[in-house]
């Protein structure tokens, strides 16, 4: 059994020690009350090891200067980011200063001037590292491979050294800029804070923007059913807010359903790209992150996609897994599900001829010539349905190519696309001239 971590300590220094506040001799504190966390919100970024923590606590203040001690031993909190502000009566309460005692690491003391006496809600924010999240997806196709279920998940990992109970969790999709790693700042310990109002780094500003929330968004309710994950866009980022509250103990991880899509239609495309996928055709499931495909409510964060097929015998076949990139709304989704033993491609160079020689130098020697290559390419489809095959070949040099149905993908890549019927052996021929030596004037394919 592991005892949960409670590393954060929040200590209200009572009036007997107010006189010491100016020097913030924390070692002398001996009368304290520890206000509990009333709520906590985690905004977790997946592009950096960065989490913005917002917690609310109620402090009992008295008129005058109050010293509030805050410590975070054995955590990965960036000390430069720890801030406190009142959530109410802020016209009567002012944070005078923050002191980091030199003899106590991972520790600070705020001096708060209050014109009132009584309980006030405060918000403490800071950055921590050690909390991360990732997305993953599970796809299960029907036996006929025309529709699939498409389930998205998010998994949250807590290795921060602190446990956050009943936390509202928000997950940010997007790439933020950091000029210093939070983990490094946490390891380095206390460093001078920027002057109040002084510009913080570009990265910090961006983080603040990404994490902006209103108090209304702070909900603290336990989910009795699978929590819905609410998605919203913000600037260049996308925020997933998990409804209800989550407790993720230190060193635990937790996986939640992000969305479920059913009856998602998809197409199958076979690709042969020796330069990219190897010498055999590779099968792709093609769909879009849009409404037509029962998706499209949010971008899909990069993550691992595991694809299965219902084998029609009350079981699954594992087709494969791949890491996908971030997929914006309306963007294509291409899933490589690997080789298919029932679709065979064969390419044969049937002849080579040389012609159009050019001579130069004294005595004259061959300096330029053309080589004419003839090819036969065949696709054999042993499946019970038509397959669409897209073939790309990169051909370097100055090429003139003659073939029906050929199109240029780019300057040195030719592409053929065919539908091959069930049990059909489909062959096509093409020929190209490669200009060599001084005959080569370009570096491109020209279709004749």
């Amino acid at each position: 059994m592991k005892t949960p971590r409670k590393a954060l300590r929040f200590v209200l220094v009572v009036s007997a020690l107010l006189a010491l506040a100016a020097t913030a001799q924390a070692r002398n504190i001996d009368l304290t009350t520890v206000p509990p966390r009333e709520s906590v919100q985690l905004t977790i970024y997946n592009s950096e090891d960065l989490t913005l923590v917002r917690e609310t606590r109620s402090l009992s203040l008295k008129k005058g200067t109050n010293s509030i001690q805050y410590s975070w031993a054995d955590t990965l909190i960036d000390p430069t980011s720890v801030e406190i502000r009142p959530l109410e009566k802020d016209d009567q309460i002012e944070v005078l200063d923050t002191t980091y005692p030199g003899d106590k690491p991972q520790h600070c003391i705020w001096n708060i001037e209050s014109k009132i006496e009584g309980q006030v809600r405060f918000q403490v924010t800071y950055f921590t590292s050690g909390i991360s999240w990732s997305a993953d997806y599970v796809l299960i196709t029907e036996p006929a491979e025309t529709e699939m279920s498409f389930d998205g998940y998010v998994q949250i990992y807590n290795n921060s050294g602190e446990e956050y109970e009943n936390a509202q969790v928000r997950l940010v999709v997007g790439v933020v800029n950091l000029v210093e790693k939070i983990q490094e700042l946490a390891r380095r310990g206390i460093i001078p804070m920027p002057a109040p109002g002084a510009p913080v780094s570009k990265g910090l500003r961006m983080r603040a923007m990404g994490g902006a929330v209103t108090e209304a968004e702070f909900k603290d309710e336990l989910a009795e059913r699978a929590p819905e994950i609410v998605k919203e866009g913000l600037s260049e980022y996308f925020i997933y807010t998990i409804e209800g509250a989550q407790t993720i103990p230190n060193q635990w991880s937790k996986r939640l359903v992000s969305f479920r899509a059913r009856q998602v239609k998809f197409d199958i495309l076979y690709r042969l790209r020796p330069h990219q996928y190897g010498d055999r055709p590779v099968r792709f499931f093609m769909l879009k992150n849009d409404e037509e495909h029962k998706l499209g409510t949010t971008p899909l964060p990069d993550g691992l996609v595991r694809t299965f097929r219902d084998n029609g015998r009350d079981g699954l076949c594992f087709l494969g897994q791949q890491q996908t990139k971030y997929v914006p709304i309306k963007e294509d989704i291409e899933l490589n599900v690997g080789l298919d033993d029932e679709v065979v491609q064969e390419l044969t160079c049937t002849s080579v001829l040389r012609q159009n020689f050019t001579f130069d130098h004294t005595p004259p020697v061959v300096v330029g010539w053309d080589e004419v290559y003839s090819w036969k390419e065949e696709i054999r489809n042993y499946k019970d349905k038509t397959v669409r095959m897209e073939v790309r070949h990169q051909i370097p040099g100055d090429i003139e190519l003659e073939a029906e149905a050929a199109r240029l993908h780019d300057y040195h890549t030719v592409e053929f696309t065919f539908d091959v019927k069930p049990r059909e052996k489909f062959a096509w021929h093409y020929e190209y001239t490669q200009h060599q030596g001084s005959n080569a004037k370009q570096d491109r394919i020209r279709l004749k």
Binding site: R255, L316, G320, Q321, C349
Partner: protein
């Protein structure tokens, strides 16, 4: 109780851990009050060559409300991220106005059992599903996961008739279970061939007959390849002739049911007296339908071939451009008592490099009729760099008759070299 070794444990955990993730300090005690549901069904899916998928079904008693189901394993390499929990025959009800749209299925129903989340405790091979049930159910659930060290391979056993006209090819699937878990009676499927239902014990290898092909015609080939053939000691002009069985994976040859996966092929021949003799083995390469599986059996020492280049002339075309005028001469003796067809394979690229120096460019081959003793139907251009000559050889004369060598010549141009 569960039949397994206990290495994979499946535990619905009752109320003592309802607070498991609730935040209490005692919540993480991982107290388990357990009733272990037996495995009702296990399927081992071996169709993916890179990963083995295990599916098991158990009946789990769910209470109304939130349930925690603990799944743990030890000494077993399960890919934690691949574990799926699915309810078979999911109970559903009609949607109501209180249901959030996200939980309504396309058919308008709402599933009455939902997996809320999965929690992964630190330092353990375990996970805890939090499952919500609208009312008590005895739910049949299917857990699937990828597991390591539960591997498949394929073996073939071919028994040729005494006259080597046909053979019987048996394809076996071999299952090696070093996963650290035993699976009891399990369905086993490898994508093609038969479906099996077998006990799979721990550290056990099991070989099962996946398919049997009867009366598969054998094409027996004798191949002379100057460039890849084994040298004959003290005979610089010779290479050993290699003998192969070639099996065509199509219906015409009583196969063609499915692609043949890579595996070792052991070949036996009936000895005509009720027994079998082992005549060789080879790795059978992956063979799609309609392709040929070539099985190298060994050397055919009774077919002797000498090769020499009897002419090597440079014919100038213009300036330094020339054709290389080459005559290859093969002297062939068949000491076998059966007639055979000899295939002589030439790698034109390597021939050109030998005679004209190594080049980056492909050779341009022309076979010249004049000076070539073979008919056009005996010459096969396999591709731009490979040519094969098919030469039928008579059986060696019986008695004291002498084997007369057959001399075959091929006249070729390696065109446009410099």
């Amino acid at each position: 109780m569960m039949k397994s070794t206990g290495r994979i444990a499946f535990v619905p955990v009752v109320c003592a851990v309802l607070l498991l993730l609730g935040g209490s300090q005692v919540a993480y005690a991982r107290i388990k009050l357990t009733t272990l549901p037996v495995r009702e069904r296990v399927e081992i899916q071996l169709d993916n060559p890179n990963a083995t998928l295990v599916e098991e079904e158990r009946i789990v008693t769910l209470l109304e409300g939130t349930n925690h189901i603990d799944f743990s394993w030890s000494n077993t390499a399960i890919d934690k991220g691949t574990i799926l929990f699915r309810v078979v025959d999911m109970p559903v009800r009609a949607k109501t106005k209180d249901d959030h749209p996200s939980v309504v299925r396309p058919d308008g129903n709402v599933e009455m059992i939902q997996v809320i989340n999965v929690a992964y405790p630190p330092g353990e091979n375990a996970l805890v599903w939090e499952v919500f049930a609208e009312k008590p159910f005895a739910a049949r659930v299917r857990i699937s996961y990828l597991i390591q060290n539960l591997r498949r391979s394929f073996d073939y056993r071919a028994v040729a008739e005494h006259d080597e006209s046909t053979l019987v090819l048996r394809k076996y699937i071999r299952l090696d279970n070093f996963s650290g878990e035993e699976f009891g009676a399990s369905g086993i499927w490898a994508g093609f061939g038969n479906y099996f239902h077998r006990e799979v014990g721990m550290n056990e290898a099991k070989q099962m007959l996946s398919w049997k092909f009867q009366d598969v015609p054998i094409k027996k080939t004798y191949t002379f390849d100057w460039w890849t053939g084994q040298q004959v000691p003290d005979e610089p002009e010779q290479r050993y002739v290699e003998m192969r069985y070639v099996l065509t994976n199509d219906k015409q040859h009583n196969m063609g049911e499915f692609p043949l996966q890579f595996g070792k092929v052991r070949i036996f021949q009936k000895d005509g007296r009720g027994g079998e003799a082992f005549i060789g083995e080879d790795w059978g390469q992956f063979t799609p339908i309609d392709d040929e599986m070539e099985l190298y059996l060994g050397l055919a020492r009774d077919v002797v071939v000498k090769r020499k280049i009897s002419q090597n002339l440079r014919e100038r075309v213009q300036h330094n451009l020339h054709h290389q005028d080459v005559v290859l001469q093969y002297t062939i003796e068949n000491f076998k008592t059966d007639p055979v067809v000899l295939d002589i394979r030439e790698d034109v690229w390597r021939l050109r490099d030998e005679l004209c120096g190594g080049k980056d460019r492909a050779p341009e081959l022309e076979i010249v009729r004049e000076g070539t003793s073979l008919g056009a139907d005996q010459i096969e251009r396999k591709d731009s760099r490979t040519v094969e000559f098919h030469i039928p050889l008579e059986a060696a004369p019986k008695g004291e008759g002498k084997v007369e060598p057959l001399v075959a010549t091929v006249h070729l141009y390696l065109r446009n070299e410099w």
